[in-house]
């Protein structure tokens, strides 16, 4: 009964230290005595829905993103079947954009995405860069999501798709500073990148709880001492608020 964390194409999708998110999930499972294994999906390999309990999709460089899109679309049916079976997904930045139908660049060229979530992204005129704070209600509890954004894309959610949260500080999905990310079942998409799970252990634990449920393990996780994480999140949130644009 080993929990399997599956980062997709980490050699291409890890521009903003996405491996930090993998590390945090792995360690937090490990500290609780849960058997856990990281099984990255390599380019060219087939995704096996039976072998994944949580899926991570990171961000890539523009050049690599097209390469990844093609590979990912080929795996979309298998991903869809895992998602239907209750496997959670964390998609960050470029990975978030790949969840959608397409990415339209400055010149109007379309790069198709996986269409796993009803959303699409258009390149904007400027990059949205800075520390962000987002209000999130997840599984009945209120949280503050703290991190950093750096993206040119403006993401538009389909009519039936809920955002992950409400922007307190930052540009959010489209630069208007209103909605951030998407939450569709157990699919979490967000522009909050890099050390996202390290500073937001509540989100890491929610993903782990879902992963445990999928693997048939108890979903109540033993509490951990997260004082360091809370201190880092508090400091980052204070910084974001002090430089609010």
């Amino acid at each position: 009964m080993t929990l399997r964390i599956v980062p997709l194409y980490p050699e291409l999708l890890s521009i903003y230290a996405d491996r930090g998110n993998v590390r945090v999930l792995e360690q937090r499972a490990h500290w609780r005595g849960l058997p856990v294994e990281v099984v990255p999906l390599a380019l060219g390999a087939s995704f096996d829905p039976e072998q994944a309990d949580v899926i991570l999709i990171g961000g890539g460089q523009d050049r690599d993103q097209a390469l990844v899109a093609e590979a990912l679309i080929a795996q979309a049916p298998a991903l869809r079947s895992a998602i239907a079976d209750g496997v959670p997904v964390l998609a960050v930045c470029g990975g978030y954009q790949l969840l959608g139908h397409r990415y339209v660049d400055q010149s109007g060229r379309h790069t198709p995405g996986t269409g796993l979530v009803d959303l699409e992204t258009h390149a904007g005129p400027t990059r949205l860069v800075g520390n962000v704070v987002v209000d999130v209600d997840l599984a009945g509890t209120h949280h503050e999501l703290v991190g950093f954004e750096n993206h040119a894309g403006r993401t538009i959610l389909g009519p039936g798709i809920a955002p992950l949260g409400k922007v307190i500080v930052g540009g959010g999905n489209d630069g208007t500073g209103t909605a951030e990310g998407c939450l569709e079942g157990r699919i979490v998409g967000t522009y909050v990148h890099g050390p996202l799970l390290p500073k937001n252990p509540w989100l890491a634990d929610q993903l782990l709880a879902w992963a445990c449920e999928h693997r048939g393990l108890p979903t109540t996780l033993a509490p951990l001492d997260d004082q360091l994480e809370q201190a880092a999140a508090g400091a980052a949130a204070a910084l974001a608020r002090s430089e609010r644009r």
Partner: protein
């Protein structure tokens, strides 16, 4: 940079009066201009080049805080009387503008790593701009290229006037691919390169499996590299004018790359590599690049860290010496450091610091470092947080035995601040005093 005392002011004024006037400022540099750019090592490489050519040329050199157009203008305005050769380190994003105006005789391009994305845009954008720039260079410009980086090597195209430098030594190759590796896809067809050797990040000996790009033939080469912790590195230098042994008083393969770039550029300027090698043996570390400073009966080793590849290389270089030592990590997120601190998750702290006696996290983002270490293999009891760097530094010195060593890894502005503190105590010069 506030610490530098408003040092780019004259350049600002000049450029406001004459926006395209950089070339006028270069009049009188009759031995030419060498432009040095890279993500990692441009400061050290230009400092090394200055040390090599200094006895033969009157050199005008800028510093790390002055590598944008205004800083370079200021350097040229304030240059020492009689200077004949410009050695200018140039920010990656500023290279095109500076080159168009100054027409350097030699351009040294070392490497491109992911660095401070919030300021520069993505790696690929810089690479594209460099490609466009190289295509427009006159044939008389000599390109000195760090061929271990496939993107840099790929810039050569069909140019004749190119000198390639690199390492050729399987013994210092990393086994597996470094987590921080960036550009490992063929610049021509996008296939993943096959690496026969990988030295640091994506630098190594590579070839495209389809056969349309591989590392070019090296002209200035380091072989038989022997690293000896913080004490330094020795290697055999093979160059067009012969072979000799080089002993470099700086640790790490990075500094071997930096030395090769400096030796190759000096060779283009007419200085025999044997002369360059002997002058480098006396080289002192530039600001925060493995500087060793005596504090009472103890030694402080200062290491600048600004991106994962540089940090991993620094950690590898001190790995044998860090056992039982005090380590201070200082992470600032001011603009010159890069405001996004995500990259600390790409540093391989695992293994590197496990044997340190105590690690103190400091700087504006100290709390983030503490979280990063919690998720590494460093025992939590050995990690403390002290936001004020001076306090953290003094505690580490106080906890170190006589003749012991303290390692400080700090980001750029943190290193400036610490230098200021040490200068106030008479332990080292102020940073900007070293620039002229």
């Amino acid at each position: 940079m506030g610490q530098g005392g408003g040092t780019t002011m004259p350049g600002h004024v000049f450029l406001r009066l004459a926006p395209d006037g950089l070339s006028e400022l270069a009049v009188g540099l009759t031995d030419g201009i060498v432009a040095v750019s890279a993500t990692n090592g441009k400061t050290t490489t230009s400092a090394m080049l200055t040390a090599i050519v200094g006895p033969d040329h009157a050199v005008c050199r800028n510093g790390a805080g002055a590598n944008l157009v205004t800083g370079i203008a200021t350097t040229l305005v304030n240059r020492p009387r009689g200077a004949t050769l410009g050695v200018l380190e140039v920010d990656e994003a500023a290279l095109t503008g500076v080159t168009r105006q100054l027409s350097p005789t030699v351009i040294v391009l070392g490497n491109l790593f992911r660095d401070q994305l919030d300021r520069h845009g993505e790696l690929e954008m810089v690479a594209d701009r460099w490609r466009e720039l190289v295509a427009t260079l006159p044939p008389s410009t000599t390109l000195v290229l760090g061929a271990d980086d496939p993107v840099i090597d790929g810039l050569a195209g069909d140019r004749a006037n190119v000198v390639r430098f690199g390492i050729d030594d399987p013994r210092v190759s990393l086994g597996a691919q470094d987590a921080a590796a960036d550009s490992t896809f063929c610049v021509r067809c996008g296939s993943a390169y096959v690496y026969d050797e990988m030295y640091l990040g994506h630098l190594g000996s590579y070839r495209c499996p389809r056969g349309d790009h591989q590392r070019g033939t090296l002209d200035v080469v380091a072989r038989q590299v022997i690293t000896d912790g913080v004490r330094g590195t020795t290697f055999r230098l093979d160059a067009p004018d012969g072979s000799r042994n080089v002993s470099l008083p700086l640790p790490g393969l990075y500094n071997v790359e930096n030395a090769l770039g400096a030796i190759a550029a000096a060779f283009v300027l007419g200085i025999p590599t044997a002369v360059a090698a002997s002058r480098l043996a006396q080289f002192h570390a530039a600001f925060g690049r493995f500087e060793r400073i005596a504090v009472g009966d103890r030694e402080v080793v200062l290491l600048l860290f600004k991106n994962p590849t540089g940090a991993n290389e620094a950690l590898r270089a001190i790995a044998d010496d860090v056992a039982g030592a005090q380590v201070v990590l200082v992470l600032n997120d001011r603009i010159a450091d890069g405001r996004d601190i995500s990259w600390i998750w790409d540093i391989d702290f695992e293994g590197a610091l496990a044997t340190a006696a105590q690690i103190t996290c400091s700087g504006t983002r100290a709390a983030e470092l503490a979280v990063r270490l919690r998720y590494s293999d460093v025992s939590p009891g050995r990690v403390t947080t002290e936001t004020v760097t001076e306090v953290a530094f003094d505690a580490a010195v106080g906890a170190t035995a006589v003749d012991g060593r303290i390692f400080v890894l700090a980001t750029y502005t943190a290193m400036l601040d610490l230098h200021g503190v040490l200068a106030d105590r008479g332990l080292t010069q102020r940073f900007w005093q070293e620039q002229v």
